[in-house]
């Protein structure tokens, strides 16, 4: 009893030490970056704002995140939420298109041969190139932004889903064949469980790129949004705000990625 408690204590201590260690490295890296930033700021005679100026602006921004003084002056929280809303819409619509297409592509040679050339040609195109097409089609800058995010979210999910389906091991297919699984049972008990981790990987990549693209797309579209906020701050010559926005965009992206990473762990399996 005593011994096992001791062992448990030792194990906990190990975990705590490990975490403290990681945190110390994090602090060390951060301070290093802040020092470089500070020196860079000093060397430009403050034209480039340093960490101290930036953090005071950052604090102002996040202490009143949801104020609304008309269309051109909204709190950072409002900006962020409106960007997140567009990304969510675009990402969901994109995924709803990409997953079934990926399943078709992966499971049939015909589907692969038909779709793959198109995918390979369109995938390398910057999603922003679709912005004008969106404008013509939807007559609205906001909808166009969502359209750009839809296009962005398509490719990684589509390709990963198709890859997942096409790599279902022959063993698993043989089980389905030998025991006469119906198509429905094959899809729900073999195809989807095997493909799910691949689909989630695709979604994780898609949401990451979508979050990068939204900033650029909103610079084009204007209105409300974190990307437009960056552009607006630049026009107002407030680099402190630009830096603050960069920090916030980074943190949100980090949280999004972590969320999908935990989903990935949740739905992965070892054979």
């Amino acid at each position: 009893m005593d011994k096992s408690n001791q062992q448990l204590g030792a194990a906990t201590l190990k975990v705590v030490t490990y975490r403290t260690g990681r945190f110390l490295y994090f602090l060390l890296g951060m301070s290093f970056m802040l020092i470089i930033w500070h020196v860079a700021s000093l060397s430009t005679d403050g034209e480039l704002p340093g960490p101290i100026q930036t953090f005071s602006v950052f604090y102002d921004l996040v202490s009143h995140p949801f104020y609304d003084n008309g269309p051109n002056d909204k709190g950072i929280g409002n900006q962020l939420l409106s960007s997140l809303e567009r990304v969510t819409k675009g990402f969901i619509i994109g995924s709803v298109i990409a997953i079934p297409l990926g399943l078709i592509m992966g499971s049939s040679t015909l589907g692969m041969n038909l779709l793959n050339p198109m995918v390979q040609v369109l995938r390398p195109v910057s999603p922003l190139a679709w912005f004008p097409i969106g404008l013509v089609a939807f007559q609205s800058a906001q909808t166009s932004t969502v359209f750009v995010i839809i296009i962005t979210s398509l490719w990684p999910t589509l390709i990963n889903t198709a890859f997942g389906v096409s790599t279902i091991p022959q063993d698993h297919k043989n089980v389905a064949k030998a025991f006469g699984f119906s198509t429905f049972k094959y899809i729900t008990k073999v195809l989807l469980p095997f493909t799910l981790p691949h689909i989630i990987t695709g979604l994780r990549l898609s949401v990451g790129i979508a979050w990068m693209v939204i900033v650029a797309a909103e610079m084009l579209s204007g209105g409300v949004g974190i990307g437009f906020f960056v552009w607006d701050s630049w026009n107002a010559l407030s680099l402190e705000k630009v830096f603050s926005a960069i920090l916030i965009i980074g943190l949100v992206g980090f949280v999004l990625d972590k969320t999908f990473k935990s989903l990935q762990t949740r739905y992965s399996y070892d054979s």
């Binding site: 063993d171 698993h172 043989n174 089980v175 064949k177 030998a178 025991f179 006469g180 699984f181 119906s182 049972k185 008990k189 073999v190 469980p193 095997f194 399996y269 070892d270 054979s271």
Partner: protein, 289 residues
């Protein structure tokens, strides 16, 4: 100890086998696969008649096409010539009358032990209620002593346990023919031994009604389990080299049968059939004595 065991003469065995109805007919089967280098013939002109309740081993060197022949019977591979008839019906694909135990267990890793068996039962046995299906799964799990492990995932099981799940799954669909593709190849000797006994136990529980065909490269295993042993020539284009009849009385006891002269002579004959290849190849090799 072994005084009471009456070794059956070959003719007697043949006679008793011939009394049973035909279970499987392999008629002039040739299987070939297209490869980039041209057609590869795996097995050629195979004729084999298997009676109901027989245990048959297919034995031969690696790559001699024994698994291919097995897959033809299971319906997973179509013969390029000839046909396989199971219970009077021509085989055109896999069917629930043939239960398969794969070489590498082939359990679905995201399903529990219970679910792996249930999904097979659910697909193969039509016209019974869900409760009855669950009862079948529970009964078969109990037969292989896996009830305490029913909620585990395959990755949490040892190799022997996985193979027991695979066997329980094949038995659960109550097929008339059981096809085992090197079922115990990946197991250690001790586990293998107890699996043999377990397989025979299941076969006995069913009144020896199931026809069992097993692919193996283990001579002792083949003798212990089989009524007849089909020895294949080396591929490509493998044919049947010899069919050995195992006249050892059942139930067999591993410790006892190894002392029977009949056991020794079968073993001797099989070794000669299988090992001569090496003695030729080893001609040029000098051994240090």
């Amino acid at each position: 100890m072994i005084a009471n065991t009456n070794i059956l003469s070959e003719d007697k065995v043949k006679e008793s086998i011939l009394l049973r109805p035909v279970s499987i007919e392999v008629k002039d089967v040739t299987v070939s696969f297209p490869t980039p280098k041209g057609e590869y013939i795996a097995v050629k002109n195979i004729d084999l008649e298997i009676r109901k309740g027989e245990i048959i081993s297919l034995i031969g060197h690696s790559g001699c096409g024994k698994s291919t022949l097995m897959s033809t019977i299971s319906g997973m591979v179509k013969p390029s010539k000839g046909e396989v008839i199971v219970n009077g019906k021509k085989v055109t694909g896999a069917g629930p009358d043939r239960g398969i135990v794969f070489q590498n267990y082939s359990l679905l890793p995201w399903l529990t032990v219970y679910e792996n068996i249930y999904e097979a039962v659910d697909s193969c046995i039509k016209g019974i209620s869900t409760d009855e299906k669950h009862a079948i799964v529970e009964e078969n799990l109990a037969m292989v002593n896996l009830t305490p492990h029913q909620d585990k995932l395959p990755k949490q099981l040892s190799g022997g346990m996985k193979q027991r799940v695979a066997i329980a799954r094949a038995f659960a669909i109550n097929p008339s023919v059981l096809l085992l593709d090197e079922p115990f190849g990946a197991l250690d000797a001790l586990t293998k031994g107890s699996m043999h006994v377990e397989l025979l136990k299941l076969w006995n529980l069913d009144n020896r009604n199931k026809t069992i065909i097993m692919v193996t490269h283990d001579i002792e295993e083949a003798i212990f389990l089989s009524d007849r042993i089909v020895v294949l020539n080396n591929g490509p284009a493998a044919t049947i080299k010899e069919i050995e009849i195992v006249g050892l009385p059942r139930p067999r006891n591993k410790k006892d049968i190894v002392n029977l002269p009949e056991y020794k002579s079968i073993r001797e004959r099989l070794l000669n059939l299988l090992v001569e290849k090496f003695s030729i190849e080893d001609d040029g090799v000098k051994f240090e004595e």
